[in-house]
């Protein structure tokens, strides 16, 4: 059919270029128009609580109140001790040293939001599923990620970095994908026709039914989804709600399944509650790395970079400590953010144990254009960073008050002629280095931080021995407007060893001799 269309109807000969076109290949067999990926996180509340500090201790999360508390979730070391969901709490403590974790619904909700944010980089059509996971529509993303296998691999790696353990499954509709992931089968089903064979063997607890309904189905002898579908439809609809029939139809792709899509938040704010109080900063690193992974995913999704990270450590006594980390050049690479964060908190001393950490990014800017590569090669063993990043790294490790640049001001009083400023990213010619010394004035290279008073027996100043003053003196009289008026006579003094100092006699207040500079 296509080759007929390319043959011209008129009698004029075809131009040579068009005639050389080969016939297009026949279309491949049609796949499902939509492909859904489900991410299921078993024991999600427990994973959220243990994300910040994974340790081999046995932990459980309990529900219920008073003396009838029962175990809801238990981690692997606890299961090895013999603890199962449904065990009363008294029995738990008898089995060994087990840590009890409280359930925090707000933290779980926030964690699910952050997870959606992270997953947004794989597909913009995603929807959270009832507090245990999420589903993504990935048909449109397959070409960008060069295939399903690469996409799944990247997702698995990203999940590991975030600190979660989850199961992934792919199916033509979201309900089936969720069911496959819940059954821990991690299967990939791409066409509707293959769905029944994949789903029929799954147990009915993948449907997440209420306990009463599940018990009813169990009582009539239905264990798997396949048996469910073999029951007569009208009877099933009458015995259970019609919604149950609709769910089954959606599972097998017979009815459409509409989901509400997740919307991106406008700013980034993520909080991680630590499972226990942490007293030393190196132990916070794991939790901080998790938050940084979430931040980089957020920035990647927005194709943006940031200049500042606002860290907040919430401490046990209710106060919180705020640290602002400047990045020098805007960046969103995980390696750079984690290096700066590690350097900044390396020397931090915690006055109270930390219960939660929070990361906020207030303003983001679009990604700058990539730099052209240097014409000249740099040495291979050099650090791969430029000057502003180097300064930011030093500042992160030593603190903001450790780095300065100097600016000269036109001022007669020597101690005010040099100002200490914040270092610049580039040495552009600023107005604060233009003032020049008049010719003939003698000035030392060093000034002491404060003028040092000298002993002066019989009016002759001494500093490590007798000093010989130069014949010329220089009078500096200035500063009457600032209430720090100085009237000084400066001399160049040489001592017996040959060292040269810059001293002055104060003619204003106490009339003493002071050492002010060193001719180095």
């Amino acid at each position: 059919m296509y080759s007929e269309l390319t043959r011209p109807r008129s009698s004029t000969p075809m131009p040579a270029a068009l005639r050389a076109l080969p016939a297009p290949a026949p279309l491949a067999a049609p796949h499902a128009s939509r492909l859904w990926l489900a991410l299921e996180l078993p024991q999600f509340p427990l994973q959220v609580a243990l994300r910040g500090d994974p340790s081999p201790r046995a932990c459980v999360m309990a529900a219920g109140d008073g003396t009838r508390q029962q175990v809801l979730f238990a981690n692997t070391p606890a299961i090895r001790l013999g603890i199962r969901p449904g065990l009363p709490l008294g029995a738990v403590h008898a089995l060994g040293d087990v840590r009890m974790l409280p359930r925090d619904l707000l933290a779980e909700q926030r964690a699910l939001e952050q997870l959606c944010l992270w997953a947004y980089q794989f597909s913009p059509l995603l929807s959270p599923v009832a507090g245990t996971g999420l589903v993504l529509e990935i048909q449109g993303s397959l070409k960008l990620f060069k295939g399903l296998d690469t996409l799944l691999q990247q997702m698995r790696r990203g999940l590991r970095d975030l600190g979660y353990r989850g199961y992934l499954a792919v199916a033509p509709n979201p309900a089936a994908a969720t069911a496959l992931a819940r059954a821990r089968q991690q299967g990939v089903v791409t066409i509707n026709e293959a769905l029944p064979s994949a789903l029929n063997e799954l147990p009915i607890d993948v449907l997440a039914l209420s306990p009463a309904k599940a018990q009813d189905l169990y009582n009539i002898g239905v264990r798997t989804l396949g048996e469910c579908t073999r029951l007569p439809r009208e009877g099933l609809g009458r015995r259970f709600a019609p919604q149950f029939l609709r769910e089954l139809d959606q599972l097998y792709g017979r009815q459409p399944d509409l989901r509400l899509y997740f919307e991106l938040p406008k700013s980034f704010n993520s909080r991680l509650e630590l499972p226990w109080e942490i007293k030393h900063t190196p132990a916070l690193q794991v939790a901080m790395m998790r938050l940084l992974h979430e931040l980089t995913a957020y920035l990647r999704v927005h194709a943006a970079t940031t200049r500042q990270l606002h860290w907040r450590l919430h401490q046990a006594d209710g106060t919180s400590k705020r640290q602002v980390l400047g990045l020098g050049t805007p960046s969103r690479e995980f390696a750079r953010l984690s290096l700066l964060t590690r350097e900044r908190f390396h020397r931090e001393i915690l006055h109270a144990p930390v219960r939660a950490i929070e990361l906020t990014v207030e303003s983001i800017e679009p990604e700058p254009a990539p730099h052209e590569p240097d014409l000249f090669t740099r040495p291979a063993t050099a650090l791969p960073e430029d000057w502003p990043q180097f300064v930011a790294r030093l500042r992160a490790r030593l603190g903001p008050r450790a780095l300065h640049r100097l600016a000269s001001v036109s001022e007669h009083r020597p101690e005010h002629a040099t100002h200490w400023r914040e270092p610049l990213a580039s040495p552009r010619a600023t107005a604060d280095c233009k003032s020049k010394l008049a010719k003939g004035l003698i000035r030392p290279l060093w000034l002491t931080r404060r003028p040092i008073p000298l002993r002066a027996p019989e009016g002759k100043p001494e500093w490590g021995g007798a000093l010989t003053l130069s014949a010329e003196r220089e009078r500096i009289q200035s500063g009457w407007w600032a209430k720090e008026s100085v009237t000084r006579d400066y001399f160049v003094a040489t001592d017996a060893r040959g060292q040269r100092w810059w001293i002055y006699k104060d003619l204003g207040g106490e009339r003493g001799w002071y050492l002010h500079g060193i001719f180095e």
Binding site: V391, L394, L398, H404, W446, R449, G498, I518
Partner: protein, 219 residues
């Protein structure tokens, strides 16, 4: 065969005949003539040992630093006093290219105030990072406590970052061996104004050499 035969056949290498890469000119012709590379070895770690202040130990470096500050950055780590910028400008140094790093800025005026151990280590770390940085042309530091292992690391960092590293230390460390490429001992001239420089270790020469420089005309 005799030693002369071996030398004639060029099978014995003599230290003072080895050709060296040309170094950074010091700005003082008398000193240039004395140094094997006709200038400061670059990139290298140089130790300046002196007990006295006020004799010109920093002025010795200003011509080379002024030359480097035209295209690269200078980093001074933990200077003992405040640099006076108009005087530095007069010598040709560009203050916009100077970065002062000090982990514990001393509050008192006395230069002999002992510094806290952590800040000493932080300053050493900053010095090593400055040496490794490619954009940094030269880095100066005033510190005392360095063992030969730390000095060797700094020497390697100089070569990695193509930086001139200068360490100012008290003269009592002259007796202790060090892997620095060039070691100078400065003392005030006895009978004239100026500076006596004794080069007691340099690459490519075996004997100690002294020279006298008059810096009063320079400042």
């Amino acid at each position: 065969m005799s030693l002369d035969e071996l030398v004639r056949r060029a099978q014995v290498w003599r230290a003072d005949q080895a050709p060296l890469a040309r170094g950074l000119t010091t700005g003082f012709p008398a000193l240039d003539a004395l140094l094997p590379a006709q200038g400061w070895p670059y990139p290298a770690l140089i130790e300046v040992l002196t007990d006295c202040e006020g004799i010109g130990a920093l002025s010795l470096w200003l011509p080379a630093l002024a030359e480097l500050s035209r295209a690269q950055w200078l980093i001074w780590v933990a200077p003992p006093h405040l640099p006076y910028v108009p005087a530095l400008q007069r010598h040709g140094l560009d203050p916009a290219r100077l970065l002062i790093v000090d982990a514990l800025p001393a509050e008192e005026a006395l230069p002999q105030r002992p510094r806290v151990r952590e800040s000493i280590e932080a300053n050493l770390w900053a010095f090593e990072q400055a040496l490794r940085c490619v954009d940094c042309g030269a880095s100066l530091t005033w510190c005392e406590a360095l063992d030969s292992r730390a000095l060797r690391r700094l020497q390697l960092a100089c070569e990695a970052g193509v930086t001139l590293g200068v360490i100012f230390r008290p003269a009592r460390f002259a007796a202790i061996a060090s892997p620095a490429v060039l070691r100078l001992l400065l003392s005030p001239a006895v009978h004239a104004t100026g500076l006596d420089i004794q080069i007691f270790k340099c690459r490519g020469s075996l004997r100690a050499q002294t020279c006298h420089l008059d810096l009063s005309a320079y400042s």
